[in-house]
């Protein structure tokens, strides 16, 4: 993927520690079990369609890990769905995840390729036909039928180099993979 010994231009700073990432790659090649991560979220129903989910711990590098603080997310539906709108909808959180993942990837790839970023903005849209979730038409799927991400990137690079950054970030994105490929999901009652 990347050259083994990249020439890192010290003047380029996107705030990504590429050296640490490349060292991690080397280390994990020797200890693949450390590369198994489990991410967690804990959800509490509040009222109606409003729920509150917290994220704090995860497992990786063979041990329990903790974010530096507990993050809380309000989830609800908007007034047009006859709900209280206490937070974004679940599907909007999916867009948040996709945007965050692709943008992190762009920064990392740009750093590795010695490209200074000045601004990276994305508009993320997912379209769906709510006849699916309302059970009105079995032919209509519940989820997004189309997701679009439009990047506006200002960087010391040609348009082709910027397009290559965006392409490479998709290739290595967890959330892009989650949205474009089927995933085994099990939901049980404890």
């Amino acid at each position: 993927m990347q050259p083994a010994t990249p020439i890192i231009d010290q003047t380029i700073d996107n705030g990504v520690n590429v050296t640490a990432l490349l060292e991690a790659r080397e280390a994990l090649a020797q200890a693949p079990e450390a590369a198994r991560f489990t991410w967690r979220a804990h959800c509490d129903w509040v009222r109606g369609t409003h729920s509150r989910t917290t994220v704090e711990s995860y497992h990786g590098l063979c041990e329990e890990q903790r974010h530096k603080s507990r993050f809380t997310f309000e989830v609800d539906h908007p007034k047009v769905f006859a709900a209280e709108d206490q937070g974004p909808t679940p599907v909007e959180y999916v867009l948040v995840g996709l945007a965050g993942c692709l943008t992190a990837g762009i920064a990392a790839v740009a750093q590795n390729r010695g490209i200074q970023l000045r601004s990276v903005k994305a508009r993320v849209e997912g379209s769906m036909d709510i006849q699916g979730i309302l059970g009105m038409d079995p032919e209509v799927r519940n989820g997004f039928d189309d997701v679009r991400v439009i990047y506006e990137i200002d960087a010391d690079a040609s348009r082709t180099e910027i397009e290559a950054l965006v392409a490479q970030s998709q290739k290595r994105s967890a959330v892009y993979d989650l949205l474009t490929n089927p995933t085994q999901v099990r939901v049980e009652v404890a």
Binding site: T160, E163, Q170, K171, N181
Partner: protein
């Protein structure tokens, strides 16, 4: 059992300095070089010379490399059409002629069943006796084992599935639409042929390599050759694992040069979908990453053409 009649007498393993497995391009070329250096050797071939080209290719196949590129050590293409593309009968005749002129002993109909390292080389078992050698050359080809997705096992019985090695021509398939999985050279060529035979065709594709058949008045292979890309050796490649995973280019040979990229395929009415990733009941699932793979292939092609221009 009556001794001496029903089975050959036990023979000790034959010894040779270098043993070559496979009498295709690479094995025959190796034979040429070994003979020139006076190194004692033999070539073992499971079937006939050019076996895979005779028995494991579809009827309409032409090489995707132009005839002038069909050169083996000591033999250049001398026919009337250096810019054409060899059909299978012509390629087999080319390799047969080369093999006949070769000084190497070629043991056809000899299938290798096991290879074992020994103190001074290798012991090679075949269905026609054992060999010993100091050096062994595996010239069995790069794509002899089809990669079939595991979900092929779970397909409903009314769907016939086969690999490119077993495919011959459209009329050998049961009637109806066809899903072609994979859009390297073989995949795009089969999708094209099946669609032209009047069937609805869907082509599932992931990462692929787009190349134009001709560029600035010359075959793309001329440019790759002139730029030295075809002379690159394995130790000169930055990441050999990645290089080995590179799909074969979306190119086709045949009577007249033409493009067989995504534009040409979809203009002909082939439905393009993402990589085949799952089977849920009797519904196949395709990845939603087609646009990304198409954009990546265009970027790579753009970089290649820029380099060729330079």
């Amino acid at each position: 059992m009556i001794a001496g009649r029903s089975r050959p007498p036990h023979r000790p393993a034959r010894a040779v300095t270098v043993l070559v497995i496979g009498a295709g391009h690479a094995g025959l070329a190796m034979g040429h070089h070994l003979a020139r250096r006076g190194i004692d050797h033999a070539i073992l071939e499971r079937g006939e010379v050019a076996h895979a080209w005779r028995h494991q290719r579809w009827d309409s196949l032409h090489l995707l490399t132009p005839n002038w590129e069909c050169r083996l050590p000591g033999q250049a293409y001398a026919g009337p059409d250096p810019d054409g593309y060899l059909s299978m009968p012509a390629l087999i005749a080319f390799l047969d002629g080369y093999a006949r002129r070769l000084a190497s002993p070629i043991h056809t109909g000899t299938r290798v069943t096991a290879v074992q390292a020994t103190d001074d080389g290798y012991r090679v078992e075949t269905d026609r006796g054992a060999w010993r050698c100091r050096a062994l050359v595996m010239a069995t080809g790069a794509c002899q084992v089809p990669v079939v997705p595991a979900l092929a096992e779970a397909l409903p019985p009314w769907i016939e599935s086969l690999s490119a090695l077993a495919y011959r021509r459209p009329d050998r398939l049961p009637p109806g639409g066809v899903l072609v999985v994979g859009a390297s050279a073989s995949g795009v060529q089969l999708a094209d042929e099946l669609q032209r035979s009047g069937r609805p065709v869907t082509l599932a594709m992931g990462e692929h390599l787009r190349l134009p058949r001709r560029y600035r008045g010359r075959d793309i292979e001329w440019w790759l050759d002139a730029a030295g890309l075809l002379d690159q050796r394995f130790h000169e490649v930055e990441d050999i694992q990645r290089a080995r995973r590179t799909p074969s280019p979306q190119l086709v040979g045949g009577p007249a040069p033409r493009d067989l990229d995504l534009n040409a395929l979809s203009a002909n009415g082939i439905r393009l979908v993402g990589r085949l990733v799952g089977l849920a009941g009797s519904r196949l699932q395709f990845a939603g990453s087609l646009a990304m793979h198409a954009a990546s292939a265009d970027l790579k092609l753009g970089r290649l053409l820029d380099n060729l221009d330079a």
